[in-house]
Symmetry: C2
Subunit: 417 residues, 2 copies
């Protein structure tokens, strides 16, 4: 890469003095040994910042983590996959609190230093009976080489784990940032949620860290879409423990900008990996909206196009169908003039001034036949731009998401419903 | 039916002194004889009102019909299927105008008394070479028994034609209202790739007619959704020729309300038929949102739920998955309180106060296994309601919509691109 970063191994354990642990407790599948309970822990005190779903229906662990983040700085995060602990009422709240409490006892932390995340089916009570006997094993398993185990334990129907880490120079010290993520809830309705955990050993001020994560999320996770659904559990949490012993990063400095860019670089890798591994996704589409009247309009157009069933179907069908794209532009709510709209597949113009361009459709078809391509929509009415990353929609996606009924049967067997 | 209407035959020719004609000119498929060019004509002068797509990208025929409706009252409508004449620039405008002009000459009408509609592929030039030689045949074919031919000629991916007509007593006279519609894809409130023509022999004032159609569209075509896409070509046009010779219907009278209800009754039949015949649709879902803080919120919730990929996938999978429904409620943008939300499948409660209710899931599963069912979402925060009609989303829908590339190949063969 031409950026001043060195890619390193270790995921969430890449940064100094962070430990991880992941075990199987049978929530995902009582009969298999799939990892589904994990712990991230910093040996030193941490600064922490979290960003959570905008959905008004928030899972219990989201509420608990938000409250803990307001009061203290987290040093640990316990996460289960297989059950979202969403729409579970006061019992679900108690379950999430207990997960933090029991973990904090074993780690000798205050309860509020432990964050909680869950991902999985919505509306089913948490199978606490499977989790409770496992806290000790989980804590006992903490180690500096378990980043990949944690990355694997949080995935649900993702086809593979997603982790990425880098190191770079800051104030003459080597600073590390590493993270892992799991499939966007949108992709993965069976187990709705996007989770992302990032650890860094940078020594950084709280406001700088907050600004950096907000900018980075805005430029990465807020720019991906698979099916337009916003889950009840989306969480991005960063922990910074200062073990790199660099001079504290302060707002407005070059070091602060450098850190922010590095964080965005890591999150961008994870966000794109989520789209690429979207449920039954076959196409990765970079959608660039240019020359909108304002940023809000550029976003509206990008969202409308990226979430149109018909546009997504045509991507799946490798059809360079600019007609469907302009029709979504038209209903996006943005201020547009049809006769100014140009649409490009990579550098080839498909629609010029709202009309079919002269480019041979075979050339366009070759472009959309590739697994990844870029579409540029130039609205020609201003100078605001917005880029998002999107996927196609496949018949297999629908097939995959037709029913979660099996989970209810299992829950009944478990005496939970 | 317990309403004071008699169902009659004839579709758009059911009302007195309306004629229809439909022929094949090879736009849909040069090799078949599928009807794809039609004409509706009133032997008497008419009042007419039209409502058109909210998409900012409007097809040429929409612009032409809007302009003609502003200036005069239509007496005829020429419609082709197979090509939308959208995104076709000045040439497309000229083509649409020519369709009106040539028809008007043969009918001895002013050009502005002829409306034009098109439905089909977006972005391809109109194959006028196929239409031009056929105007005389089209006009010569006008007859009082061709309502069904017209209904069949306007459909595209619909599996069957949709027509409906009634008669009823008004001011001691028998009044008739009949219509036909097409739908199938790009169906969303605000009228999608949806055409609907209604004729009536009622004698009615212009403002009464306008009010009646606006109310009716709002309660029918604006409440259906298949895939959330709003097309470039949606048009609803009503012609009223007064041949029933009833006393003129005036605003605010009982007769005006009776007429309006009758019109809504006809449009409701057509709108529901569109959802039932949506592309590869297997479920017809009546979605009732109750007790919202205001109507805008009720609509937001209905739209978010009805257009969620995940909710639609679960309907297709016959999964009574209230978790996905409440998650869409949560991101709808409406003001809700999770703990007040109740969700019912028919009369059976699935979610009570945001939590899994006691109803046996097998009972709910039996309900969603039926081809049509009702879901009620009670938000419990106000007294505003909204009802819409929606469909599932099937793997076959995606398959069906993967590619229109064959049309481009044909257009190339025709020398149009």
């Amino acid at each position: 890469m031409d950026l001043p970063y060195t890619r390193i191994k270790g995921g969430i354990c890449a940064a100094r003095e962070f430990l991880g642990s992941a075990i199987s407790c049978g929530i995902k599948d009582p009969k298999s040994n799939r990892l589904d309970l994990s712990l991230i822990y910093s040996k030193r005190e941490c600064l922490s910042v979290g960003m959570f779903t905008q959905n008004r229906v928030k899972a219990a662990p989201v509420r608990v983590s938000q409250s803990h983040l307001r009061a203290e700085s987290l040093r640990a995060i316990i996460t289960n996959s297989g059950n979202a602990n969403a729409c579970t009422g006061p019992t679900g709240m108690q379950d999430a609190k207990n997960m933090a409490k029991e973990t904090s006892k074993l780690l000798e932390l205050r309860q509020r230093e432990v964050g909680v995340c869950s991902t999985g089916v919505i509306g089913l009570p948490m199978p606490m009976i499977r989790i409770e006997p496992k806290y000790e094993d989980l804590v006992a398993g903490l180690g500096p080489k378990n980043g990949n185990d944690v990355a694997r334990s949080i995935i649900t129907s993702d086809t593979h784990e997603k982790e990425f880490a880098i190191s770079f120079e800051l104030h003459g010290k080597r600073v590390r940032i590493g993270g892992c993520a799991k499939g966007a809830g949108m992709i993965n309705p069976n187990m709705a949620t996007m989770l992302c955990f990032v650890t860094t050993d940078a020594n950084i001020g709280k406001r700088s860290l907050k600004e950096a994560i907000e900018n980075s999320v805005d430029n990465t996770f807020n720019r991906i879409t698979i099916d337009g659904d916003t889950s009840t559990n989306d969480s991005v949490i960063i922990l910074a423990n200062g073990a790199a012993e660099n001079k504290t990063i302060r707002r407005g400095t070059k070091e602060c900008r450098d850190f922010s860019h590095a964080l965005e670089f890591v999150m961008n890798k994870l966000a794109k990996a989520i789209v690429r591994d979207g449920e039954r996704v076959t196409k990765f589409v970079t959608l660039e909206v240019k020359s909108a009247r304002n940023t809000s309009d550029a976003k509206k157009v990008a969202q409308a196009v990226a979430n149109s069933f018909l546009v997504k179907s045509s991507w799946n069908g490798e059809d360079p169908n600019w007609g469907r794209i302009i029709h979504a532009v038209g209903y996006s709510g943005a201020s547009i003039r049809e006769e100014f709209v140009d649409i490009y597949y990579e550098s080839k113009v498909a629609c010029k001034g709202g009309l079919q361009a002269k480019t041979n459709p075979e050339i366009l078809r070759n472009i959309v036949s590739k697994p990844a391509f870029k579409i540029t929509i130039d609205l020609g009415v201003g100078d605001a731009n917005h880029r998002i990353y999107a996927s196609d929609l496949s018949p297999e996606y629908i097939d995959f998401n037709r029913s979660e009924y099996a989970y209810w049967k299992q829950a009944k067997k478990d005496g939970l419903v």
